[in-house]
Amino acid sequence: MSFLNIAQQIIFDRLTGNLGSGVSLFDTAPYLPEGAPSTSFPYVVMGNDTGVPFDTDDQVGAEITVTLHFWSRAEGFNQVKTIMQAAYDRLNRASLSKTGYSVLDCLHEFSEAMDDPDGVTKHGIQRYRLTIQKVT
């Protein structure tokens, strides 16, 4: 299993059920933000990963960046920012674990909240960097 998959599983496990009432977390959302009914919101989508080696002589590892996309149709930015804060509280500097792997750290890299071009949807973006080593 790739380190990208491991990072995704770790974050998925960490965030599922912890983003607030009625907030869904998807790998692939069943609908695009544009044109989706407002009752589908808010939701969070994982994606846009990168990975670079974090190896030593005796261990393989990777530094993985994972980008989260937050979508909301509520009035103003309060809802999307509240969900982003919930994700931050669960991920930044968190002690994470995965059987067979050692997670050295999980760090928040940046957050951004903006208006979607459709004029009604709010779009939040966060990126986290995980440093993971495979236990030998």
């Binding site: 030593t56 002589d57 261990q59």
Partner: protein, 130 residues
């Protein structure tokens, strides 16, 4: 002869291969005795045998083995057997060494890293590979 990757050069400290290592190396030093005189026409002259022979080993990497780090802390006062496994079949260097320096650093957004230097104390034996 084809080149070899750096992982094939390993350092065993007290019979245990150091873990978390990313970079390591060794330096063999022969300090020759300068006996140049006016009679040497300006050319340096050295005695055939070095006055001092020594080996220095440096290691750095990710601090992932706390037991090993504790061992290094103790090694600052006690010598231990250190073996340098040279790449492929070149052989080994082995002898008693002292840990002359040990350093750990940690950035707020990075892993804790270590650097250690070992100095030979006594004869270092080279054993050719097979």
């Amino acid at each position: 002869m084809a080149g070899t990757n750096g992982r094939s050069l390993t350092i065993d400290w007290a019979s245990t291969t150091l873990v978390g290592v990313r970079s390591k190396g060794y330096t063999i030093t022969n300090d020759y005795v300068d006996v140049t005189t006016d009679d040497d026409s300006g050319w340096r002259t050295l005695l055939a045998n070095p006055g001092l022979r020594s080996v220095e080993v440096t290691v750095s990497g990710i601090s992932s083995d706390q037991i090993l780090i504790a061992e290094m802390m103790e090694a600052t006062v006690d010598s231990e057997t250190l073996t340098v496994q040279l790449p492929t079949t070149t052989g080994t260097l082995a002898g008693a060494f002292l840990c002359s320096s040990f350093e750990q650093t940690g950035e707020h957004d990075g892993a804790v890293e270590f650097t250690a230097t070992f100095m030979s104390a006594g004869t270092v034996t080279y054993t050719a590979g097979t």
